[in-house]
C-alpha cells in the first residue's frame, strides 16, 4: 500500500505539470499531435527512470557540493541514449520532436526528482516515483495533445475525424498551447475548489 502511494502520487496529488508546475516547455511544444505526446512521454520516462535508478544507487557516495553536475551528467548520458536510439529506429519521430529531444536534459522534472526524491530514497521507491511521475506527465501531455489535435487539425492519431470541416489552426500553433494549458489548469482549480467546498459543507 505504501509503495502504491509512492507510485500514484505523481498522477494527481503531485502531478509534475498541473500541480508542481515544472517541465512546461516540452509540454506545450510537442503536444501538437497525440502520437508526438506519447513518444515524448516514452522518451522522458525512460530518462527519468534511468536517472532515478542511478542517482538513488549512488546517493551515499556522491559529495553534496558537486551533486548537481553529477546529476546533470547522468541525465545527459541517458538523453544521448534516447537520441541515438530514436534516430536509428524511429527517424520520423526524431524529426517531429526535433530539438526537444536534446532539451530533455533541461526538463526540470528530471533534475527535480533526482534532487528532491532519488537522492534521498531507496532504489525501489525511486523506480516507483519515476514511473508515477512519468505517467502523470504522460496523461497531462496526452490530454493536451488530444484537445489540440482535434480542434487544431481535425484529426486524431493522424486520422481525419469530420470530412470537410475546417480546423482552427490556431490551436496547433503556440497560442493554442498556452490557451489549452491555461484552461486545463483552470479546470483543475475548479475541481479542487468543489472538493474543498463539499468537505466544508459536510
Amino acid at each position: 500500500m505504501d509503495y502504491f502511494k509512492e507510485f500514484i502520487k505523481g498522477v494527481w496529488q503531485k502531478n509534475p505539470i498541473l500541480v508542481l508546475g515544472i517541465g512546461m516547455c516540452p509540454t506545450l511544444a510537442v503536444t501538437t499531435s497525440a502520437s508526438n505526446a506519447i513518444w515524448m512521454t516514452i522518451a522522458t520516462t525512460f530518462v527519468l527512470l534511468g536517472s532515478n535508478i542511478l542517482v538513488s544507487a549512488i546517493r551515499s557516495i556522491v559529495p553534496t557540493h558537486v551533486r548537481i553536475p553529477i546529476f546533470i551528467t547522468i541525465i545527459a548520458s541517458f538523453v544521448i541514449i534516447v537520441e541515438l536510439t530514436l534516430k536509428a529506429f524511429q527517424p520520423d519521430v526524431y524529426k517531429a520532436l526535433g530539438i526537444f529531444i536534446p532539451l530533455i536534459v533541461v526538463n526540470c522534472i528530471i533534475l527535480g526528482r533526482a534532487e528532491e526524491f532519488a537522492s534521498k530514497n531507496s532504489t525501489i521507491r525511486s523506480i516507483l516515483d519515476a514511473l508515477g511521475m512519468g505517467l502523470g506527465f504522460g496523461l497531462t501531455l496526452f490530454t493536451l495533445a488530444v484537445i489540440r489535435e482535434i480542434l487544431g487539425a481535425n484529426k486524431l492519431f493522424g486520422y481525419t475525424l469530420i470530412n470537410g470541416m475546417k480546423p482552427a489552426i490556431i490551436m496547433i500553433l503556440a497560442p493554442g498551447a498556452f490557451f489549452t494549458l491555461g484552461l486545463l489548469l483552470w479546470a483543475m482549480n475548479v475541481i479542487k475548489a468543489r472538493k474543498s467546498w463539499f468537505k466544508r459543507t459536510e
Binding site: 516547455c25 553536475p69 533534475l111 498556452f178 491555461g182 489548469l185
Partner: protein, 200 residues
C-alpha cells in the same frame, strides 16, 4: 551582404521566431520571474549575456573539438557542461568586478543553467547549418543575442501585464498560473502577426 543576413537573423529571432512565444522555449523562468518588473529586467539582462556567450563557446567547441574527433553525438552532454560552467564563471566574474550588479542579478544566474532556451539556442545554432558557413560564428553569436533580446522583450511585456493583473478582478479559480497562460496565449497570438513579415 553580410550585414543584411545578420539583420535578418536578428529580427527573425526577436519577433518572428520569438523563443518564448513562438518556439515555446524557456517557459520556467518566463513564468517564474515575471511577477515583478525589476527582477524581470535583471533576469533578462543575465539571459542576454549568457545566451550570447553560450552561442560563441558552444559553436567553437562543436567546430574545433567535436567535429575533428568525430564525437558529434556527445553534443548534448558537452553543451550542457559548457553552459553550466559558463554560468558559474559569469557569476564569479560579476561578483568580483561589480558587487552591485551581482546583487541585482545574483539569484537569477544559477537558474539560467536550466533555462531550456539557452541550450535551445546552442542546439539550433548547429541545426541551422551555421557550422559550414563562412561567417558561421558571427551568425550564431547574433542569433544568440537576438534570442536573448526576444526572451527579454517577452519577459518584460509579461511582467508589465502581470503587475496590472494583481489589482484586476480575476475570477478566483483563474488566479495565478491559469490567467498567466491565457495572457501568454494572447501575446503569442499578437506575435503571430509577425510571421507573415518578409525582410528583403
Amino acid at each position: 551582404m553580410e550585414i543584411k543576413i545578420l539583420f535578418t537573423i536578428l529580427i527573425s529571432t526577436i519577433f518572428i521566431n520569438n523563443y518564448v512565444l513562438s518556439r515555446i522555449l524557456g517557459l520556467c523562468p518566463y513564468l517564474g520571474v515575471s511577477k515583478k518588473l525589476d527582477s524581470a529586467i535583471g533576469m533578462g539582462l543575465a539571459v542576454i549575456f549568457v545566451m550570447t556567450m553560450a552561442s560563441f563557446f558552444t559553436f567553437i567547441i562543436y567546430k574545433f573539438v567535436l567535429i575533428p574527433f568525430h564525437i558529434e553525438y556527445l553534443r548534448t552532454i558537452a553543451f550542457i557542461i559548457v553552459i553550466a560552467s559558463l554560468v558559474q564563471l559569469v557569476e564569479m566574474v560579476i561578483e568580483k568586478i561589480s558587487p552591485a550588479l551581482y546583487q541585482a542579478l545574483g539569484i537569477f544566474l544559477p537558474l539560467i543553467t536550466t533555462n531550456c532556451a539557452v541550450l535551445g539556442v546552442a542546439v539550433l545554432n548547429i541545426e541551422s547549418g551555421f557550422i559550414t558557413q563562412e561567417f558561421g560564428l558571427l551568425n550564431s553569436v547574433v542569433q544568440g543575442f537576438g534570442a536573448g533580446v526576444g526572451f527579454t522583450l517577452a519577459l518584460l511585456l509579461m511582467a508589465g501585464i502581470r503587475e496590472r493583473l494583481e489589482i484586476a478582478m480575476v475570477p478566483e479559480n483563474l488566479k495565478g498560473l491559469p490567467i498567466t497562460f491565457i495572457t501568454a496565449g494572447l501575446m503569442a497570438m499578437a506575435f503571430l502577426g509577425f510571421s507573415g513579415m518578409k525582410i528583403f
